[in-house]
Symmetry: C2
Subunit: 467 residues, 2 copies
């Protein structure tokens, strides 16, 4: 018999149907009346299926009464309407077979474990309700992202992970090498014949593709070797980066707003049960926040207007507000949470605090950058119109201390058939954090990578975290 | 005015409609009658749009007559029925504006360049018909892969790229480090406090997730530091790896067949024009091969049966056929191309030539492995049922010289709630090669990484390749 998923059974099953499921035992309750209740989870949804097992089953005494939490079971039986509250349907078991017998006690029992403790068992924690729900939401979100861009005729480009160039001139790079550790040999002896790194962004390569294919997006892993032990930093995280030829900043901002609304709206439909779980157990503001994101039009203001608002604010900020300084998290959150009460797109930042590739505005002081700020998180998207004028880009690079020779291919994109173009980046992990309300980013990645943590299973629960 | 994509115009446009496009000039022909024809490509499809420009346009003499191949243009105009053959519609220009003026000659002119030469300009080659078509097919294929699994309620898991374990005990790993080159410092001083590598497969972590969420797939970059200069090897390539709890080998084989048929069928519909281009220009067998893949049921034979067939074959192989030796490419292709004339799934290989994690069969000689062989390429998918018995897995690991301590988390999956499970892997790049008929795998990746090649733009065209 073909196995059915519990999610399909609960949504589409009918009483009287015979089905087979495969899953893991969450709890067993034995009734004095000569039967047992098994709660079984198969990972297809947040719900378990209740299975009623009569003592008449031949392995009832010897096996079923000895089943432990965590056991893997294949169960066949008949669906019937549930008399208790909770699920609509339950199963009357015809057979219950355990597929792997273990003498050891399953390390994750019904009692609640701290997320910190669960992080030492990354191979087993997907069997908990919360981590499983996170991974389902992350999966559905990833697909909603692909679907959004594909429906709009964007081409998905897999930009390189190993790269010889360093996107933003920032440090914090992981080196990639085949030279033996401690080797005195020169880069010429290395696999690629030159120093190579893990990418921090696919943007520059994405621009090359947008200036050929029109509209593209990247979606892949990116890396930062920052020694940041916070609840918001990972050394390895996934990023989505669309890039659109001929698009100016205003179209870029419109795309970012459409994008956030569409994927959030899609999730509210496809992950209703999991999101209700997060709203009930993790963060009671989750659903309201997501509905707001979908329904409220995003405000748009310039950086200079933002500074004016912040200067007039009746609040004492930790960091002073001054035209020319970058907005801090407290400023961003004041703008979207207190002042506007909804998402805000801030544009046209001072050129000194933004990257060399952002298009210089006519005032010669600001660049066509944009940050999308959302209540509860602050900056969620950063983007810009890119500098498409060869001479301006060259001097901005020199002013930033970059070697134009090293970026000659990037300048070529302005030498030949240059066109206005814009794009933005969204960090997947932070967005999952925002959607689920999970406090620590290490709990929204299946196998998080942070300073001194690259093992699936470790004895040490984790570092002291700065928030 | 909002820009339209040429693909949408050609498919859905109507004569009389006013539209704006943004794209790149492929050719300009000037008629003595006082007008010019511009062929413009915007990357949305393989086709160009023909634009008719009258001399009456105010910038006709000064700008339009000087436009060069590769120029980026924004053109507004009215669609009209085309009188020539070719496209159904053409555009009568109302305005033509060049967005970036360049004095240099665009390096990729209309004349054909060798793919080898184009590889030295990875930032510009997406502007050629062939590479653009490859990237569109790759994008649509990637989305078809996601859609296949999502529709079947598989969860997409992003397995780690940086890893402390080495999936198959194979060498060929890239090291990831933040220690300065030549540093004598110990791994303890490194970012993760231990030696780390780029992943060669997400399978082991995928198994951990399948044994919690039921059915999952990974889809991400994987790496091999092999010094292989062939037309089939990349140091960085994308892999799809589904993993299904409670599935035995036969269900795994059925999934692989369904998967290949479904995504190929989806591509035949969504990439008809690009595939027709490949069939016409690159490999005249492309369409027939893809239709065969969709329509023919896959044969299933055991390795032992395959060896018998090969031993009886009326052909002299370069490598001898002998039970216990791995099948060579020539053997695989004989089976699917000559003997069966269609795809074949070969199962139950000798345990000595397969990985430690594959489930030992009752004969104690073979394992529940499977390779899917397809005409024109040989092995396209490799997979297996995984060993779910703790004692058998432990001894297989020891026999393979692996340290069970290092894999204790992987053994945990058998200690707690172990269940039968199966999965397979498909290399995206080789599949794109198969679909498009492109001879060299370096031409199906946007930014290929191979020994001594990690630069976007290089002076050296490439190595001598072994096939």
């Amino acid at each position: 018999m073909q196995r059915s998923l519990i999610n399909d059974i609960l949504n589409q099953g009918t009483a009287g149907q015979t089905v087979q499921i495969g899953g893991w035992l969450r709890t067993r309750r034995d009734s004095r009346g000569g039967f047992s209740f098994l709660e079984i989870s198969d990972g297809s949804c947040i719900h378990t299926l209740q299975v009623v097992v009569d003592a008449s089953l031949e392995n009832y005494e010897n096996e079923i009464l000895k089943l432990k939490t965590g056991a893997a079971l294949i169960v066949e039986g008949t669906l019937k309407n549930s008399e208790g509250k909770g699920q609509r349907l339950e199963m009357q078991a015809g057979s219950v077979m355990q597929t792997g017998v273990s003498s050891d006690e399953f390390p994750i029992q019904k009692k609640r474990h701290s997320f910190e403790h669960l992080r030492t068992m990354q191979h087993l924690r997907p069997r908990t309700n919360t981590i499983a729900a996170v991974l389902r939401v992350r999966s559905k979100l990833s697909h909603a992202i692909h679907s959004f861009f594909q429906q709009r005729s964007f081409h998905y480009i897999q930009t390189p992970i190993i790269t010889a160039s360093d996107c933003e001139g920032a440090g914090h790079l992981f080196q990639v090498t085949t030279l033996p550790p401690g080797s005195q040999r020169q880069p010429d002896a290395d696999f690629f014949g030159l120093p190579t790194y893990l990418t921090v962004s696919g943007q520059l390569e994405g621009e090359a593709c947008a200036l050929a294919l029109g509209q593209i997006y990247t979606f892949g892993p990116t890396f930062r070797a920052e020694n940041s032990n916070t609840s918001r930093h990972l050394a390895e995280f996934w990023m989505v980066e669309p890039e659109v030829a001929f698009a100016r900043l205003d179209q870029n901002a419109a795309l970012a707003e459409d994008f956030l609304k569409a994927v959030t709206s899609s999730l509210l439909a496809s992950c209703a049960d999991d999101l209700a779980f997060f709203n009930q157990r993790i963060d009671s503001g989750v659903l309201e926040r997501l509905h707001n994101l979908v329904e409220q039009p995003f405000e748009r203001i310039t950086y200079s207007e933002a500074v004016q608002i912040l200067e007039l604010a009746d609040i004492r900020f930790e960091f002073p507000v001054k035209w020319g300084s970058d907005l801090q998290s407290e400023h961003e959150r004041y703008l979207c949470e207190t002042h506007f009460g909804g998402p805000v797109i801030v544009t046209d930042y001072p050129k000194e605090i933004k990257s060399f590739y952002m298009r210089l505005n006519d005032d010669d002081k600001t660049v066509a950058a944009m940050d999308v700020l959302a209540p509860g998180i602050g900056e969620i998207i950063g983007g810009s119109e890119r500098e498409e004028r060869l001479d301006v880009l060259s001097s901005r690079m020199q002013a930033s201390g970059l070697d134009p020779e090293e970026y000659s291919w990037y300048l070529d994109l302005r030498r030949y058939g240059s066109a206005p173009h814009s794009g933005f980046g969204l960090g997947l992990d932070r967005f999952v954090q925002y959607i689920t309300g999970m406090e620590n980013i290490r709990d929204v990645s299946a196998f998080p990578r942070t300073p001194r943590h690259a093992r699936v299973h470790s004895a040490v629960p984790g570092d002291q975290l700065r928030s």
